[in-house]
Symmetry: C2
Subunit: 436 residues, 2 copies
Amino acid sequence: MGLSRRTFTFAAGVGLGGLVLRDRRWPLRLPRMQIDGDRVLRHLRGLAAFGRTPEGGANRLAFSDADKAAREYVLGLMSGAGLTTAVDAAGNLIGRRPGSQDAPPVMFGSHIDSVPGGGNYDGPVGAIGAIEVAQSLAEQGIRTRHPLEVVVFSNEEGGKTGSRALSGEVESRELELMTASGKTIGEGLAFIGDNPAALDAVRRQPGSVAAYLELHVEQGAILESQEIDIGVVEGIVGIKRWNVTVTGFANHAGTTPMNQRRDALLAAAQFIWTANRAAVERPGRQVATVGRLEVEPGAPNVIPGEVLLSLEIRDLEMDRIDELFGDMQLEAMRIAEETGTTFAFDQFYVSRAAPTDERLRMIIERSARELDLSTLRLPSGAGHDAQSIALLGPVGMIFVPSVAGISHSPREFSWPRDVVNGVNVLFQAVLGADTL
Amino acid sequence: MGLSRRTFTFAAGVGLGGLVLRDRRWPLRLPRMQIDGDRVLRHLRGLAAFGRTPEGGANRLAFSDADKAAREYVLGLMSGAGLTTAVDAAGNLIGRRPGSQDAPPVMFGSHIDSVPGGGNYDGPVGAIGAIEVAQSLAEQGIRTRHPLEVVVFSNEEGGKTGSRALSGEVESRELELMTASGKTIGEGLAFIGDNPAALDAVRRQPGSVAAYLELHVEQGAILESQEIDIGVVEGIVGIKRWNVTVTGFANHAGTTPMNQRRDALLAAAQFIWTANRAAVERPGRQVATVGRLEVEPGAPNVIPGEVLLSLEIRDLEMDRIDELFGDMQLEAMRIAEETGTTFAFDQFYVSRAAPTDERLRMIIERSARELDLSTLRLPSGAGHDAQSIALLGPVGMIFVPSVAGISHSPREFSWPRDVVNGVNVLFQAVLGADTL
């Protein structure tokens, strides 16, 4: 362990001795540098009581009564961690701790709202973990150079309202959108006690955040299947989605010979298969999914005349999404020719990729190495608040393993050991980011 | 023409001279043997007035007001053709003409009800054609050996109620089934003026029909595309239908790498493709169709966890349906293995194949040849009343070309020349069947 610690501090460009002597950012003895794992788990259990479902999962929709009550609980934890709390007009819970210098803040946090019928890890691990880091810093008397901001963002699952308000991405018409809670976003923001009319006031400028770090469960099975402790997120993938309409000719399934058919579903089936092969065979970690498919007219005795399906491609690089889509379009043209059908593609959604900062990736890797934890660089296939904050400053993300990769489900689970490891890495990484 | 007539009468085993001398079944001069084509077309136009739609099609659902009025019109045509009319308890319109001998009847007919938004040919061509044959026989003073029965069957499109009542296949609980008219079958039978409680009384015994002939439009494009005048139906195909459930595992489309997916839709797509290949590559004229497909959960950003699809196979031989299905099941096992999914097959519908009688096929072929019309043997992929009557005696079916194979649509169309050819062939074939 001694060797790896030296490696870290040296590679970070700051001598161990100097660091410790200067302002106690880098504590002398390792045992004092750990967070309180039992407290993390206790607070996670405490939070899980809000919106608990019979299956043991969480129904804590943004702007619901359960969400509102959980926010009060979290504000209490923030205060208990010695943070000065505030709620901004976007419903973000912010806990502040001053730094030794007048500098932009190092920010870290996540969210506590859930999808309908969600679990207890997606969001809470990062939110509770961030508060724990603040509390451990306070208890260990560590003063950082940068001011710290622990942020629990509002309505992550329903559109990342809180973090996107900070980056100025929330359009006014968005306030009219209905959420799963039964309230519009505007009504929801008013419900959790803020003034949505003042939303513009929360907007921050690019460069106003020294670094943002987010701890989160992986929501995939890569770390677990490879027995890796900590995922170092390379970035949040970009997403493009298309509606694909396959048009053939509906006809009698009994009287139309096989060679006279223009079967839209047969063509769609070929497309689904070749699109999958194109995504699998290309080097890289892109994913492509056909998740929705509807058949017209949809009767057992009628040859399908039209199929509407969704196509989604995700990759860390938008150009690679476009290249893969181009390959798929070529395949579609070939299939259309062979089957007497036509394909039409209509793009209906884009989410830009958000790469993480290479310095923060290295800080996370070295923080893990300090703790004898193995790491793997991987993309985040899911969206996160870090994506919005990337418009304001460098971001880094820490993943911990999700058992069987199950997510957005009551069966979502991460081992306590992995959760505590993640919070410890966040703790170290916050200290590392403070050196930037 | 002289040669082919000789061939026919000789092959039918009855000498030309004897036939003519005995009872004028075989008239001496060909011109007198033709039906009145103009009258056929006039009666078809007359019938088309009942339930006519703005698109020029027919909405003449069984048991609707339009159906009831059209039945009165048809009874009038039957009377005008010299037939003694009756309506049985199953709502069948029956026109009788005595024969010279006490023998089982030669029956011919079809139906006049339509699907919702149907056309003017499916049913009417055979029904009006049958009445025309009776009228031509009367006008030409031809007396047959067998009694003749012209039957217009009730509710063909909604379950072949009329013809299945004759063969004793209608179960009492079927009377409770709702039809597209908004009436149950029982209510519908009462509406068109009969006593459904007496349904059992219409049942006939096997062997009670000397021959049944039905003229119908092809509802496919085989005859048109091969420029054939007359289709000689080899039989009505059997049908089996299965619900196929493909079970994978629903997961996050962003966080689940391509090689860790168990995508039910990807597996279903492979199955649709291989099932199609199996049906196409096997010798024969079987057809296989996947017409319905539903995806769960069905969101663009979720890997499909379950797919429910319908599989239908039709063939003239039930054994061949089972063999082809066996091949498809083997393919499904291979796909399940490759994709980490499971396939479950649940058969939910069977309709037994009904082969036509070889003697009647030959009679139809010779009748067409007499008229210088080309013929092709082909299966009927659609169901017909002949299917039920096949349980009572030998059946034969005559097809005429459908333009572009369009059926169950206002765009359903057959050329007047083809319709008249079909009625002429029916006329000859009835005379041929009378020799059986």
